[in-house]
């Protein structure tokens, strides 16, 4: 059995790498993780915002962004986003 790893430790290992963030609603972000805090508010750079609708996926590019942790549901280290 692998040694246990804490969730926040996993996120911390992801700093400097690409990450895929899924919100509670139909919205997703990809970008490079710069850092985060105890509330899992996240600082990302080279960000793409995806709005997922029945009609398709809207993509927006953003610079350095502070993402409010309130609506974050899931983090995928190294994830490429909904269009990959």
């Amino acid at each position: 059995m692998a040694s246990t790893i804490l969730p926040l430790e996993l996120v911390d290992r992801c700093i400097g790498s690409p990450i895929w963030v899924l919100m509670k609603n139909e919205r997703e972000f990809t970008g490079t993780l710069m850092g985060f805090d105890d509330y899992v508010n996240m600082v990302l750079k080279d960000v793409k915002e995806y709005e997922v609708t029945p009609e398709g996926i809207t993509e927006t590019e953003l610079g350095q962004t502070l993402l409010n942790g309130n609506n974050i549901a899931m983090l995928i280290p190294g994830g490429k986003g909904p269009k990959a």
């Binding site: 710069m34 600082v43 709005e51 610079g63 350095q64 309130n70």
Partner: protein
């Protein structure tokens, strides 16, 4: 950044972190998106740990169109989805 991390939160609370970001972004032009998807582009005057935000020379954008302009604008932090830099930090 601290080395060996028995407390990974400490390592995260260094350079790239939210508090650092907030220090660096005051005075810059930002886009603040709120939960409804409406955007506010403006000069970031100040903000706090609750993500309450004060902007100057603000444009309100909804559905890809400018819907309003405000000289001064205060956004309550609980509504903020993200704060994004429109210029290089």
């Amino acid at each position: 950044m601290s080395s060996a991390s028995p407390q990974p939160e400490e390592a995260a609370a260094a350079a790239g972190s939210p508090s650092e970001f907030l220090k660096n972004i005051v005075g810059k032009r930002v886009k603040v998106r709120i939960g409804s998807g409406v955007d506010y582009h403006g000069l970031l005057t100040c903000l706090d740990g609750y993500m309450n935000v004060a902007l100057e020379e603000t444009e309100e954008w909804a559905n890809g169109r400018k819907t309003a302009e405000y000289g001064d604008c205060f956004l309550r932090g609980n509504n903020v989805l993200y704060i994004s830099a429109l210029e290089d930090l």
